[in-house]
Symmetry: D2
């Protein structure tokens, strides 16, 4: 235990924070030693605050239940108690989150963030390790610009993108330009946190709208697929995306119906399947603890993937795809699915931290 | 009562049959006097057979509960007991349904069908009365070809189309060609009948597949938008459609996420809204009993339409649209919603019959 | 319209308030002319405040959507604008609700309340009109004690009781003492208001607890079955009740599993069914607009009543009972069901007001 | 692997059969080498038959997916291929199941059964290993009566009992007679198999009836708590039970609301909690692989246990209890919960087999 890196969770009492704590139990490299939340919860044992709204199985994990919550707004409290933090901050203002995450970095505490605040800061990498692990290098420029020694900020993209970004990247990496894509998502309620979506909206109903989600889905791929230049990440020119995002009565697992239009060069369906099945990224090469062995699982049943059946594949870190077929308007269509609170949130954040450690940014 | 036209229901014990019986209570023109189902149910009181699986409110309607079920496979039984039939037949073979529906027609009993068997018979009209009421005229050729006097067959299209066909038609009618469209549906379980979709597939889950549904969604619009020539309906050349159909845990109400690409001439969002709001079809002009006063209801809330809130608009016969906005890839996008067992099934069939009566085909 | 009594709704924007407004559309005696809510909403058009969280069908009712919301904490605003109010106040403190309801009464505005604050005030009647319409007389003493001229307060009991109280009363009225009863409820989420129960607690889950509900279920029957003496309502001695209350993923309709122990004299199952079927109360005799024609509907299917199939019986005002059978420990058991937001809340409140008007207390 | 006992699954393609196969992956003592089902499936690879309706996670387990299904009606096929069988037979007639299970036993193949057919055969033990492990001894008389050498039949009780039988037994074992009990269950849909309960009955609904379930709940405890005499199990005299069983929209986990009446000697709530927390049975003493470490988990949150949060405790084999409090009519009340397809079905069957092996009946 003494050999593990002590880590902190900012926003530890919220839904994403709970997921970090749940998933970090028995992590081989990291150990949660510090939990911070709003001033309202500060000073109380973690257990006491979350017990009545604990979302993940029966019990608050042993190692964390008796930690005393600190005030997340006071970064100085974290100094000496953890070597980096996962940020699941849920403040009203993105500017406040940015400033607060920067304060942690300034104190020498790297921030691996789930929050959307810094996603468009051009020297902050927005990582999906199978896709753009090379973006990590922008951190050097970030540190230099701020005059930070050890601290920095790295973020992950929006949860629902994970259900299709890796499959699309695998095709791009194999030489097939993806020019345009239509995507319609059917998203789980856990994505809205707790209490989140009222049951009066989700029994015998769907809600064809999630605030800000379509904008993120259309914009974030361009940065993720972007390239490094002059200490900044320069957006890719494509693919152009039209997204329609829906909330459905599912606990976990975002489903996405996708149509892709390729450039001149178009793969056959058999090639697509082969590319997906054989795809491996840097996390797989490095053998990172949270890396799924097979990042993309291709299903052949006519009615899969389905959230309840497929979301937990490879501990919730794999993307399942199915229904691969020709598209009458574009080139191919398929259904993608990933676990939104694991691959799409806390699990993705942990994989980012593992990548950063493997690259020497977290010591 | 004596003035009403006596009608029969084929497949009266199934889900669609039950809907016909439910909706025809107190109909001003039609009265259910005849119920037919499989030989297994024949000879029993209607009540006795359906009571334990009655789907629509608490009780089997009064006028019908004591009717004795006849064998639907024997059209001769219907002669003299009803002047036309609604067909909700659910036989395994489409050829059997075709043959059986033809037998009724041959005996002078018009068939207003919900079954898909005759949808591609080129002298059988596939009607959405607000769109293609003129297709009724093909019945004359149909009668002549078969040598039928009074009998004929008319059908309605697949249920999920109804959530977007009228809005698209309204734009076409206003002079805007619709060249291509993407549609992703989130469809209610009632569309699969009873017992239909197992609850083990619908609690905390969605199923991204409905057998045959995408093919119907891509093909049927071409006939509906087609034109009459030489006693046949000739398919339209467009729009080209790519459909992705999903089953979601909703009782009633099919939701559709739609993107449209227009031809050269493109309406503004304001024009689209005006066209939809002002659209009226022949059922509205004729004041047919089941015609919604306003066929297309435009909603302005950011998160509507929703199935539970909007499906019952104008007794389940109106189509609700919302989230009208620009599409980054095509021209516009929107969400359409209609009640799949009313507008999309029995209610649509009844409106077809009303149109046929108004045009003199049912006497 | 000019002949209808103008009424106000306190707490008009909440779930119960919305139900009052929904149910009072086209009421033959009452017309909503006044809506009041928290100071935060005051001054805004009703439509504007509730539109994005309207719970009952597609649209905010016409007559009310443009009313300007007044501050419910200022009873003087209501003077001259309505002749009585329905209270659906949701303040944190019961004492504040009591004081505020009394203030309206003091200003000559009778309060027909859905709130629980005054349920245990001994000169305030807690009415189920089919059971204890005679308790209305305690209002005279109430007025005298306070020195009120026209104003007074009357309340209704907790929603879940309605699923079994009338059936039990019918047996008591027929001469069968009910000594003890076990009841386990399966309650709908609408009972918790909006946003109410999070969907993360209600998808693939039940919650075996509703705060305060078991206490109310065990205590309120004693007052409802009580008698008048010296200007007060004196509790009945029985039945003794043990209640277990659960929240289940149902939109509307509270289901109750009940076992009853009679006194010496015990009815046969056939007698119980006859008593229930023939039971009528004062609302039925008076022909009150919201009175169900048959207050207790006995079902014979083995698997009924069910919330979705039976809750809307007689516009949601009837109680459905089924599964009547012997109990191995007590005497009989059955399942009772009623619509919690209609019979159990706003509809019950309206029936109370109709009774009060019929008895001359609302002019 | 060679050291594990080869076992067969009868009814391997159904829901319970799938659960056995899922749970026996990596079992330290047993290995599935034989799968049998209806003649319709015989001859096909297991994978092929179940793939499209596999209920447990994404994939059919590796070791079993390529086994060829045999005809379960032909016991001779099993000889030499497995040393005992788990029976999850789902034939229409209980007599047929009895006869078939006996045929396996007669061929020297012990049957550890999930079927209800033999539950009332007086020399067949109905086991909950924590409660009546001593009933195993009746197998000697059973073998003798039939003239069987190695073969025999042992069964487990109905699934929903498991949510409260161990807690009740713990109190009885501690010297507190339980005279009478009321129990109302809220049962998961997986208990009805697949396709099982239609989603049209489970969205926005509960069904207050499960065929035969109440009778089993009232009768089976008497045999489980019974004693051995003259080679038979003699029923206990009590407790007397009144059960009300409901189906609710939950995937897994049966919840039970229980009230208990003790004899003369009554424990305090503190004593009850202490007894439950400290309770251990023979499976715990023997350290059987599927034995939960703590058979009864007492929860203190006001709103627990809940199916989604608590069903998986100790791999689904523990019973969770909560809401322990006084009962106004009987003595105590509480909520019990167990995983119906693990503790209540396949997991319980496996624990029975482990007990039988530990006692030398399976070699």
């Amino acid at each position: 235990m003494g050999d593990k890196i002590p880590v902190g969770i900012l926003g530890a009492t919220g839904a994403v924070g709970q997921n970090y704590i749940f998933l970090l139990q028995d992590h081989p490299w990291f150990e949660v030693t510090y939990v911070a939340a709003s001033p309202r919860s500060a000073g109380k044992p973690y257990r006491e605050v979350v017990e009545s709204r604990w979302l993940l199985g029966a019990n608050v994990p042993e190692g964390v239940r008796d930690l005393v919550i600190e005030d997340a707004n006071d970064p100085s409290k974290a100094v000496g108690k953890c070597r980096f933090v996962f940020s699941a901050l849920e403040l009203d203002s993105k500017d406040e989150i940015k400033a607060l995450e920067n304060s942690y970095a300034a104190l020498g505490i790297p921030v691996v963030s789930n929050a959307s605040a810094h996603r468009w800061t051009d020297d902050v990498p927005m990582l999906i390790p199978e896709i753009n692990a090379d973006h990590v290098a922008v951190i050097d420029a970030q540190k230099k610009a701020h005059g930070w020694d050890k601290g920095f900020v790295a973020v992950k993209p929006n949860c629902s993108l994970q259900s299709y970004m890796t499959p699309i990247w695998a095709l791009m990496k194999a030489g097939y330009e993806v020019k345009r894509m239509f995507v319609t998502t059917l998203q789980a309620v856990s994505g809205a946190g707790y209490p989140g979506v009222p049951s009066l909206d989700m029994i015998d109903n769907v809600v064809p709208y999630i605030g800000g989600e379509e904008e993120k889905s259309e914009k974030e791929p361009l940065k993720i697929f972007g390239s490094l230049a002059d200490g900044k990440i320069v957006n890719a020119a494509g693919p152009l995306v039209a997204a329609h995002c829906n909330r459905v009565p599912v606990i976990n697992g975002h489903t996405a119906c996708v149509s892709l239009e390729f450039g001149e060069k178009k793969p056959s369906l058999a090639e697509v399947e082969k590319i997906w099945t054989e795809f491996r990224g840097l996390p797989q090469e490095l053998g990172l603890p949270f890396a799924p062995k097979q990042p993309i699982i291709v299903r052949h049943e006519p009615n899969r993937p389905q959230p309840r059946r497929d979301r937990d594949e490879d501990k919730g870190m794999a993307v399942s795809v199915g229904r691969l077929r020709d598209c009458p308007l574009f080139d191919i269509r398929f259904v993608g699915l990933s676990h939104n609170t694991v691959r799409g949130a806390a699990g993705g954040g942990i994989l980012n931290a593992e990548l950063l450690k493997a690259k020497g940014y977290l010591a």
